[in-house]
């Protein structure tokens, strides 16, 4: 799952780079560059969500917000790119806005509020941070502090961005 997420982020970054590269050739494919940008943006957001939200290679029900982001941001924006220009003679309004503007404001803008943060809240205890997770982390913190006290360094190992190994630094805590 992590490989998939990283692959998605890499592919998205390449799509974004291609979109910005095509900006220098606006006459070649005027709709291609913004479409790549929209897909790259959606892919980067979704890929990063997968990278962060997966646990032990599993995403669970959180595939719903991931797919939703790809569809609404990527699909929604590509649809907007393909829409014909606003016709001032057409009186059609959707909730007070022309159709394209309504898709942008209510679809891409507001609709995710009803899905993504809600998915986060509803799955938080089970898929994001359970009380067992929290206790494991707190136990690790207690262990680390007691080790520091035992060594009498007053500064736990690896703290404060201190180099603890590798070629860059001095090889140990201060």
């Amino acid at each position: 799952m992590k490989r998939l997420a990283l692959g998605g982020i890499l592919l998205s970054a390449l799509l974004l780079a291609a979109a910005y590269g095509l900006a220098f050739l606006p006459e070649v494919a005027p709709r291609l560059a913004p479409s790549l940008l929209a897909l790259g943006t959606a892919g980067a957001l979704a890929g990063t969500l997968v990278l962060a939200a997966q646990r032990d290679g599993r995403l669970g029900i959180l595939w719903v917000p991931v797919v939703f982001i790809v569809l609404v941001v990527g699909g929604g924006m590509v649809a907007l790119i393909l829409l014909p220009p606003v016709d001032p003679a057409d009186p059609t309004l959707v909730l007070g806005l022309p159709p394209g503007a309504a898709l942008l404001m209510y679809g891409v803008g507001l609709l995710p509020t009803l899905v993504v943060p809600v998915a986060y809240a509803l799955t938080f205890d089970r898929l994001t941070l359970s009380s067992e997770d929290l206790e494991r982390v707190r136990e690790a913190g207690r262990r680390r502090r007691s080790e520091a006290e035992a060594t009498g360094s007053g500064s736990p190992p690896g703290g404060g961005g201190v180099e603890t190994g590798g070629p860059e630094g001095s090889g140990g805590p201060p």
Binding site: L10, A13, L14, Y20, A23, P26, R31, A33, P34, L37, A38, T41, A44, T48, L49, L51, A52, P65, V73, I81, P85, V86, P88, G96, L97, P98, A101, L103, M105, G109, L110, P112, T113, V116, P117, A119, Y120, D125, T128, L129, D133, L134, V137, R138, A140, G141, R144, P156, G158, G159, G160, G161, V162, T164, G166, P167, E168, G169, S170, P174
Partner: protein, 511 residues
């Protein structure tokens, strides 16, 4: 059109220096009352600030409600109330792509950063800054120092523009002149920032954030009334300027979607917002954070959208005389279409928005000077609280003096703040905290790439030497490049000593 957009973006943090005067008795009294409340909060917080942990991370003791409003207030500067509506008025709905990503990115930020940063605090009680997190993740003082340097450069730019904006707003509010406005605003924000640190800032933000959201909702109701509802506004504009109501407005699709990318994905690298995750008392309370902060942001940005389109409709229909500059949209609407009391509350909210952002910048800037850079050089300061207060004062004075010499320099400094944060911090922080395969070399290379390229390309663009076509900002391109550099260098150096991760850090990356 592109040439029209860039000056407008420069005013993102710097409302035009010629806002119409708002000095009316009711407005002045509300403004004074606002400053008295902020001063009282500062005095209260000062008594509770006893050490560097209190000063920089509010003693790690704030609740969900305070976190929500503090994050919202730090996210929104005066741009949401002055520059933003002006941008909508000028370029149409394309300007909405700056704020629309919020419906996704707050939850994304909670998954990607909030849990990791807050859990980092459980295992490393000494953690105070975002560069701390980068340094601990990669066991690298170099990465911590470089990210601290990037933050300091961006903060200097943001501070000068925000202090100038504050001077403009205070001058419009009290009619005391721009110079005195800058110094009065600086004095108030320095007063509570130096004495009470982020603790004062957080509780001032609770007050200020509430004020912003309430004022924005009330103004939106007056917008609907003045324009004949959203349908009336749309119909009026469509008859005269249909392009304005297209999804991208008068921007190119590429420029508009670039906004969505930079302000959406780039939100994962805004240290003045994300470092507040350290401050939450109980990590389990993060559950409702994305929903609450997203709802608060939507309410607070109703004014951004509403005033922009309503003033466009009113000017188009001839009901309002033309604006001399787009930043007049909000003050003119307030003076002509809302009660004085509401105008006073909104202008106090503008000052509030700027001051809360300035406080957050001061805090992370002071931390970069007194904590991150000394740690990078292996010379941690003995009294970080005292040093932090001095640094806060010095940065404020430097920003106020710079703001006095306003114009090109301040506009230039203000352009690249958000982009510099994004291009230097997003890969190492957001990806780095979630990918155990990332390496120290990748982090240092991506931060360096973001820092050098953003400064170079924005400088070339600002001085008219060279800029990207189709209205694309350099920050968008450098963000993409720094991500690619991070992935490529990490892949190339995987398995080396720069891949090592401390066990406790690995644990918080895996839960």
């Amino acid at each position: 059109m592109i040439s029209r957009v860039m000056p407008l973006l420069q005013s993102v943090e710097m409302p035009g220096a010629d806002l119409p005067g708002m000095a009316r008795t009711e407005i002045v009294l509300i403004g004074i009352a606002y400053f008295v409340v902020v001063a009282a909060i500062g005095a209260w917080a000062t008594r509770r600030t006893r050490n560097a942990q209190d000063f920089y991370v509010a003693g790690h003791g704030i609740g969900l409600f305070a976190l929500t409003l503090a994050a919202m207030s730090a996210t929104l500067s005066g741009f949401a109330f002055i520059g933003g509506p002006g941008l909508v008025f000028s370029v149409g709905l394309g300007a909405m792509l700056i704020i629309l990503p919020a419906s996704i990115t707050n939850a994304l930020g909670a998954w990607v950063l909030a849990k990791r940063l807050r859990l980092l605090r459980e295992v490393r009680e000494e953690v105070m800054t975002i560069p701390d997190a980068i340094g601990m993740r990669f066991r690298s003082p170099a990465a911590q120092g470089l990210s601290g340097l990037a933050i300091l450069i961006a903060v200097i730019g943001y501070m000068a523009t925000n202090v100038l904006a504050l001077g403009v707003v205070i001058d419009a509010l009290f009619g005391i002149g721009l110079g005195w406005g800058v110094w009065l605003g600086t004095a108030v924000v320095v007063g509570y920032s130096v004495a009470g640190g982020i603790l004062a800032g957080i509780y001032a933000d609770v007050f200020q954030g509430t004020l912003m959201a309430v004022a924005s909702v009330l103004v939106f109701l007056f917008v609907l009334d003045a324009g004949g509802g959203l349908s009336g506004i749309s119909t009026t504009i469509l008859q005269n300027d249909p392009g304005f109501m297209s999804p991208w407005g008068h921007l190119t699709p590429l420029a508009a979607i670039s906004f969505f990318f930079v302000f959406g994905y780039g939100s994962l690298g805004q240290p003045h917002v994300v470092h507040k995750f350290y401050m939450l008392r109980d990590p389990a309370r993060l559950k409702w954070y994305p929903l609450l902060v997203t709802a608060a942001l939507i309410l607070a940005t109703l004014l951004y959208f509403g005033v922009g389109v309503a003033v466009k409709a009113l000017v188009t229909s001839g009901e309002m005389s033309p604006l001399s500059n787009p930043d007049e949209a909000t003050p003119r609407f307030l003076l002509e279409y809302t009660p004085r009391i509401l105008a006073g509350i909104v202008f106090s909210s503008v000052a509030a928005a700027i001051m809360s952002t300035v406080n957050s910048f001061l805090n992370i800037g002071a931390a970069a000077v007194t904590h991150d850079l000394p740690v990078a050089f292996g010379r941690r300061l003995r009294d970080e609280l005292f040093a932090g207060r001095i640094a806060t004062l010095v940065i404020s004075l430097a920003a106020a003096v710079t703001a006095q010499f306003s114009g090109q320099l301040v506009a230039f400094l203000g352009i690249f703040g958000w982009g510099l944060f994004a291009s230097t911090l997003v890969p190492a922080l957001a990806l780095g905290l979630n990918w155990t395969g990332a390496t120290r070399e990748g982090a240092v290379a991506s931060i360096g790439t973001g820092l050098v390229l953003t400064l170079a390309l924005e400088t070339l663009s600002f001085f008219g030497v060279w800029s990207f076509p189709a209205g694309v900002t350099a920050s968008a391109v450098t963000l993409v490049l720094s991500i690619l550099v991070f992935l490529a260098v990490s892949a190339a150096t995987r398995g080396g000593p720069g891949s090592e991760i401390d066990e406790d850090i690995r644990l918080i990356m895996e839960v």
